[in-house]
Symmetry: none
Subunit: 401 residues, 2 copies
Amino acid sequence: MDTQELTRELNTDNGSKIVLAVADGLGGLPREPGGPTELEAAATPNLDKLAALGVCGLTIPVLPGITPGSGPGHLGMFGYDPLKYVIGRGVLEALGIDFDLGPNDVAARGNFCTVGKAGVITDRRAKRIPTETCTRLVEKLRNIRLDGVELFVEPVREHRFVLVLRARGIEGEVNDTDPQVEGRKPLAPEPRNAASEPTAKLLTEFIRQAGEILRAERPANMLTLRGIAKKPPIPSMQDVYGLKAAAIAVYPMYRGLARLVGMTVLEAGANWTEQVQALKQNWAAYDFFYLHYKYTDSKGEDGDFDAKVAHVEKFDAEFGHILALKPDVLIVTGDHSTPAVLKSHSWHPVPVLLAADSCRPDEATKFGERDCLRGGLGRFEAKYLLPLALAHAGRLQKFGA
Amino acid sequence: MDTQELTRELNTDNGSKIVLAVADGLGGLPREPGGPTELEAAATPNLDKLAALGVCGLTIPVLPGITPGSGPGHLGMFGYDPLKYVIGRGVLEALGIDFDLGPNDVAARGNFCTVGKAGVITDRRAKRIPTETCTRLVEKLRNIRLDGVELFVEPVREHRFVLVLRARGIEGEVNDTDPQVEGRKPLAPEPRNAASEPTAKLLTEFIRQAGEILRAERPANMLTLRGIAKKPPIPSMQDVYGLKAAAIAVYPMYRGLARLVGMTVLEAGANWTEQVQALKQNWAAYDFFYLHYKYTDSKGEDGDFDAKVAHVEKFDAEFGHILALKPDVLIVTGDHSTPAVLKSHSWHPVPVLLAADSCRPDEATKFGERDCLRGGLGRFEAKYLLPLALAHAGRLQKFGA
């Protein structure tokens, strides 16, 4: 029996409200030996006060040592085992452009590429063509017609696009056509089971027509497909937690991930201040709010320690408005760490604080990695965060007599 | 491979003695922000000395955020995965009146209720009839005869009773007849599998005869059945740990839970002092002793912080006598938390201390929630407590070469 089977059985609606405020890539590393992390370096008076009153800890996004992408990072934080619910790259790419994927959709990430004589790939990214070129080529690909299936082709950025096939009953277990190395021809789309054979045939025909359409283009005269997949069947937060959940996120991928678990995606405005205003405006209508703050991750990825510190401070600055709403449970964390010194996502555990009347206080007095090490929540897999939120909100009944 | 598969293979008898002293609902919460918990507020010189000498930690009874009933709380503490061994409410209710359930018994919790015209339930608890009335009605129900099955009906308290059907080969996968809401008729007892169909038929006939017997009674003119179940097949502590185990508990439910895992239930006397005397008297005859102290939980459930503190102090006062017996391993913990401020069981991790010559000391110097956070055992699922006890007692061989 997993944690969601328990919450599905034990959840009860007591009218309480939970806020999950996520600073993407929050966890960090010191810039110099013995120095503070980005979070420790930032002046965060609101978060420090919450850490002192509440209970702190560190989450392991997937398993020790495993660096998550945004998909597994968010699923774990939402209480879904990221090793059980695996999201294909095509699906994530479609979510990332706000494409509303349905249960009859097979999505693929497409790359324009360059092929030479005999169809051998000479550049897997077609010299990273400008996005405008990508958009023009996608327009052409939209002329492709396949029997019995609705087709969507959407530009993403540079050489990247999204392909979606929509038809009742199609399956998505088909291998990548990208051989991952140059000097080889694109692979045929191979089905991994009998049910996916029709999809493989449709993709073969799509690729054939695309080859004709692109033949005269330079450098993008061919394409490859990766991460071909359907959206996995995921129970909604209403189903597993009894929560009417809403997401307030500026970037499409996070809205898509929230939609994947059944959240209502609210109009978020353009920045953190407006996101918190949206929280206030929608306060009465939902039990659970997921707020996503992007810039801590972006600045970490840029390797800009000081800018990440500054954005942590901007994140902190709005918490007075959040607290004024008197949430029963307020959680502040990240979906993973993005240390500026690594310029990338990392496996390091992620600081978390939980403030609620029912929390058992600990000796953490500030919100930072070192204080969280002394926190009463300890170190735990992120998938247990939502059950802890429900417990502290009084939304879980006793297990067994 | 789970922990019990390992201990089953690796256990060895070196003649050492283990004491597990359980203060029910031990873990707590501060009454005021920044204040001590009940355990921290109590003067516990004996437990503090043990905490300083030994190693401390915190157990998670089931999973993070999950509040256990007494059944899962105890099973976990005894090293049995509480998600694998689920005890039906009928079984627990029977254990709670010291009924010696056997492998051919199906137990159900019964509630007397009131039905109006057309058999619709108007009061699910029959105005909580006095226990004497319950006893009188149970006497009448004992006149019911069913083909091929021995029948036991036992009063519990107010409107509650226990029904046990005993027959070789009967199964207990039958749904509740209590519709959980008033304004509906009792449900028929529906079998969940083919093997339980005969049981469902027997229960249908029991209910029919009970309806005739109770027809003229007021307000208890009908009954419902809940938590219909057999005792799950649980390996004994002798099997999985090689321990000759004894229980010293005053309250029936805890004696029943101990019996469920194969412990011998000793005459316990009426209070904690007498329980510790019973430990001394039986010291030579067993390897493992489970001592259960109830009042910390009762006072927590009452919401009486000061009384819980006083009972922690009484619990502490007898440890000189326990230590005089020189147990090789002494563990002090609870089956769950019952913070007085919540007036109920809770999900909060439970303080634990383990004293043994072989333990690696830590920086905990007192027995309390904050000190346990710094403890060398860390935070762990309660099901790992028994393997740790065996290890510190020198009762587990090396795994692998």
